[in-house]
């Protein structure tokens, strides 16, 4: 199946959404993203890690080293309070935009 490009500016929103459920490491996030998008999206580590680092730097995420399911050392990312607030805002904006786009497409 051909993968879709991740629309500009939505990767952060999806990362935040995934991490809202539970803390997770980079590989886990990429797997979950692929799985949740039913295989339409596959995130490239060259995009994923810069996003993670930027969000961490901006204080939206907090990274902590821990052990993975099969006892490997892995860096787990956790949503901070500020990250949760950003998620809510972006989510709300995205919902409105999606509604608007759908309305336009269906109404035309």
């Amino acid at each position: 199946m051909d993968k879709l490009d991740i629309p500009q500016g939505t990767l952060d929103l999806m990362i935040l959404t995934i991490l809202a459920r539970e803390p997770m490491h980079g590989y886990g996030i990429s797997q979950r993203l692929e799985q949740l998008s039913h295989g339409h999206f596959q995130v490239n580590p060259g995009s994923l890690f810069p996003s993670l680092y930027r969000l961490e730097q901006d204080g939206k995420l907090k990274g902590e080293w821990g052990a993975s399911e099969n006892n490997r050392k892995a860096k787990y990312y956790k949503l901070t309070a500020s990250g949760r607030k950003q998620l809510e805002q972006h989510r709300e904006r995205w919902d409105r935009a999606a509604f608007a786009i759908t309305s336009v497409l269906e109404g035309a």
């Binding site: 980079g26 590989y27 890690f49 730097q57």
Partner: protein
């Protein structure tokens, strides 16, 4: 996201970089491991799983690079790498690097030196509390455009200090010097006389003891002095017991009460005041100076601190209301009514005072601006020079850059890398330049400092100066780096990488000659300027001042009471080597004058002074060799018991006795009781008051007929070495005046002292012109040498075909001279503009002096010929066979 947060993460990144790098490494490794593990679990072979996982990741280094650029401060990292790369290149080309750094160090160093002087003299805040609040008080005559008078009488300062609703403090001050020590071992220490509000207005706190207050500024108060931190360290070893100790000044015991903070040396910028005393101490210290406390002497400068709640405009208008009320009581009643009226109608002006006051500003403001202009031209030349070097080197790097462009670096990225190299070079140059500026700066200070008036600045590079040099370096770096960077990257990478570099040289050679032409043009401006200043100095030195400078010693008895009796002068006359001696109230160019209203008898005396007056003793004119035109000199017989006599100079006679001899006529004056003087002689004009202006109408009166004591100098014309005579004079006189330091100086020193500014300009402009010329010649040499090496093959062919070596030399030199000629033509308009701005600093030479400009052109051509000759000779030695094999 706040700026602070952003900054913190940049700092965090810088500090914890290696940690963060390690973390990123681990994280990517664990990502890879998990990916591999899952693929194996899905049934792939380990090798296949690893290959696929790596492929999906897309290269660890690439991901890291993406993360790095995303990080705050990531750009810092890139610049850091560019800088490291630049340094690697520099170490690989030490000769190139040293040449560039030296050129820039000279250019930036000269700029920094001049700027640090401007900064010290004009820009730097006084080290006091809130200096920006301080204002300088001036009094502007009605209808005058100038900033207004800066000097005030002591009663006026006190009256201003009383205006508590306008000022929270008012400080009056004036520089002076104190003779400290016991008879026979005096040392002259620079100092200041200040009013009681001085230290509180400036808001200074003592390091030791206390500072002077209004209590000290009362007539009859115990004599107290405050010393500077530097004097405390030098003379008292920084002992805290200094407060309460006494020093002997003029035979009087003065108590040191405190020490001012480090860095503060008085409000007179450039004149370190090591000892400061209250104005009101004057009558006790020097009884003859008591009139300085009256309203007849204006001599104090004022800095004041307006109350915080009122604006400068408000303060000014309140001050002027006060003045209309108090003017009459503050203006000296002895002054002529018209003068009194003018002063009472004057208005106060407040200007920024936070940088203190300096008499040097008036003298050196314009010269320093001119010098600043000159050194920026030098820097421009240095820039052009370095750009030439970079362009020449660029050919060597063309391939490297083409490869970098070809493998995907953007042009902007490569240009940035090249510019960073330039800026790093110029920053290194600037660092060396700052060190050089220290040396140059102290040299400058010795140039403007003389035995008679020492100038002292703290030239330790401060924030201003360092910021200036850094800015100069960055602008310079961009300036000289931009053209080469753009040109080098403006190539088709594929063509450049494949073909010989030489094919792209065509475009570069258009820029190189342009740079040389610019250097020549700018050098011409500096050479012409140096010529004008040199001629100004030599005109002043060789001008006929109407008196003879050489062979005269001046004995200055620094005591106004000392009315030297004839026997004292006669004793000096008998010393070996002494030809003649004479007393007088003034000597040529001693820095102050005495003027009075003097008219032919029978005419009404004007209110304003119209003649310079000099009290001269017997032998004055023969000692100074001022030529007597008619009548006689003063003699021993011209004493108080005889009718007063006078001599006039040519200018006075021409104005008041046109077409007739003044000898035998009478003068009506305001001098003494008699006020009637008979003219017994006429002398040639002598420039006693200044070298630049024509001699003013002057009246000489007999020294021994003067009724009041005046400052006195003995002039001594001597044959044997002046130093020996000087020692003999001191040994003879000192026992007679135990409490007065006796200073013996050469008249030539005193005269030289008045052209310090012109000498500085001549020397510095000359120095900068030589520097500019050298740089321009190096530039020309570089261009021609490059040209010859490029044309080796062509020259070889021409020589093989029988061209004579001399022809080859001539063609190369001609090429150089042609560039210089274009540069000269381009430079002429700049000379025209530049010389107009220095007109007021010149003397005896027009700003557009054809001879000077022609001279500058000749010097340039001669130097250029020399610079062109070396590459030309190399061209003539090309061996045709070698040259053809060369390719």
């Amino acid at each position: 996201m706040t700026l602070l947060h952003r900054l913190r993460s940049v700092v965090h990144w810088i500090i914890h970089r290696s940690e963060a790098e390690q973390g990123l490494n681990d994280e990517l490794q664990s990502f890879l491991d998990m990916s591999v593990a899952e693929k194996i679990a899905d049934g792939m072979s380990p090798a296949e799983a690893r290959r696929l996982a790596n492929l999906e990741l897309g290269g660890v280094e690439q991901v890291k690079e993406h993360v790095r650029t995303e990080r705050h401060g990531g750009w810092l990292d890139e610049i850091g790498r560019d800088v490291r790369y630049a340094f690697r290149l520099f170490f690989k080309n030490p000769v190139f690097t040293c040449t560039v750094v030296l050129t820039l160090a000279l250019g930036i160093g000269a700029n920094t030196a001049i700027f640090s002087l401007i900064d010290a003299l004009m820009l730097r805040w006084l080290p006091v509390r809130d200096p920006q609040e301080l204002v300088q008080v001036r009094l502007q005559s009605p209808g005058a455009n100038e900033p207004g008078g800066e000097s005030f009488s002591y009663p006026m300062v006190r009256a201003l200090a009383d205006q508590r609703d306008i000022f929270s403090g008012v400080a009056g001050f004036s520089g002076t010097s104190f003779d400290v020590g016991t008879p026979g071992s005096f040392s002259r220490v620079h100092g200041a006389l200040v009013t009681g509000g001085y230290y509180s207005t400036l808001g200074l706190n003592p390091v030791v003891g206390r500072l002077l207050t209004d209590e000290d500024d009362r007539v009859g108060a115990p004599l107290s002095a405050v010393i500077t931190y530097g004097y405390w360290q030098r003379e008292f070893g920084g002992s805290r017991q200094v407060a309460g100790q006494t020093i002997r000044i003029k035979g009087q015991m003065v108590t040191i009460v405190g020490v001012t903070p480090r860095g503060f040396a008085g409000a007179n910028v450039g004149d370190v005041a090591d000892i400061t005393m209250a104005v009101a101490a004057l009558p006790q210290m020097y009884p003859t100076m008591a009139p300085l406390l009256g309203s007849g002497n204006v001599w104090l400068r004022i800095l004041a601190r307006p109350k915080p709640d009122i604006s400068t405009d408000e303060a000014t208008s309140r001050l002027n209301v006060m003045w209309s009320r108090l003017a009459d009581s503050l203006i000296n009643p002895g002054w002529p009514p018209s003068e009194r009226k003018k002063i009472s109608e004057s208005v106060f002006r407040l200007s920024d005072g936070g940088t203190g006051w300096s008499y040097l500003r008036e003298t050196y403001r314009n010269p320093l601006y001119v010098l600043m202009g000159a050194v920026s031209l030098v820097l421009l030349i240095a820039c052009a020079n370095v750009a030439t070097l970079l362009l020449a080197r660029a050919s060597a790097r063309q391939k490297e850059i083409a490869v970098r462009l070809a493998i995907g670096a953007s042009r902007a990225r490569v240009v940035r890398q090249l510019l960073i190299e330039s800026i790093v070079l110029s920053l290194i140059g600037a660092a060396c330049g700052v060190l050089l500026a220290r040396v140059l700066g102290s040299l400058l200070i010795t140039l403007i400092s003389t035995d008679l008036s020492s100038v002292d600045f703290d030239l330790t590079p401060n924030g201003h100066v360092l910021a200036f040099s850094a800015a100069a370096a960055i602008v310079t770096g961009i300036l000289f780096g931009m053209a080469p960077a753009i040109q080098t990257t403006a190539v088709n990478p594929i063509v450049a990488a494949r073909e010989d570099v030489r094919t792209t040289a065509g475009s570069r050679t258009r820029l190189l000659p342009f740079l040389v032409v610019a250097q020549v043009g700018l050098s011409l401006v500096l050479l012409a300027g140096a010529g004008l200043f040199a001629r100004t100095l030599s005109n002043l030195q060789s001008l006929d001042a109407g008196f003879r400078t050489e062979g005269v010693l001046l004995v200055v008895l620094d005591d106004q009471r000392a009315l030297i009796s004839p026997p004292v002068v006669e004793e000096l006359q008998r010393l070996p080597g002494v030809l003649s001696t004479a007393v007088s109230t003034h000597t040529p160019l001693n820095g102050w004058t005495w003027s009075e209203p003097v008219v032919p008898a029978g005419q009404p005396r004007p209110e304003r002074d119209n003649a310079v007056v000099v009290g001269a003793g017997p032998g004055f004119f023969s000692t100074l060799q001022i030529q007597l035109i008619a009548g006689r000199e003063f003699t021993e017989r011209d004493r108080r018991d005889r009718a007063p006599v006078a001599l006039v100079n040519d200018a006075y006679a021409a104005r008041h006795f046109p077409n007739r001899s003044p000898v035998g006529q009478h003068l009506s004056t305001s001098i003494g009781e008699n006020k009637d003087f008979e003219i017994v002689g006429m002398v040639r004009n002598a420039k006693l008051t200044g070298l630049r202006a024509a001699a003013p109408p002057t009246v000489y009166v007999a020294y021994y007929q003067l009724e009041s004591a005046r400052a006195t100098t003995i002039s001594v014309r001597a044959t044997s070495p002046l130093a020996r005579v000087s020692t003999a004079i001191q040994q003879t006189l000192q026992p007679k005046f135990p409490n007065t330091p006796i200073e013996v100086r050469a008249l030539s020193t005193q005269v030289a002292n008045t052209i310090v500014q012109e000498r500085m300009m001549a020397m510095l402009a000359g120095g900068f012109a030589v520097l500019a010329l050298t740089l321009a010649c190096v530039g020309l040499y570089g261009l021609l040498a490059y040209d010859v090496s490029r044309r080796t093959r062509e020259i070889g062919i021409r020589m093989a075909l029988g061209a004579h070596a001399r022809r080859v030399v001539a063609s190369v030199v001609a090429g150089g001279i042609r560039l210089v000629a274009i540069g000269v033509l381009a430079g002429l308009p700049a000379v025209w503009i530049g010389s107009r701005s220095i007109g007021s600093l010149l003397f005896g030479v027009r700003a557009l002096d054809a001879v000077t400009i022609a001279g500058a052109i000749v010097v340039l051509l001669a130097a250029a010929q020399l610079a062109a000759y070396l590459p030309a000779r190399r061209a003539s030695r090309v061996d045709p066979l070698e040259a053809l094999r060369h390719e």
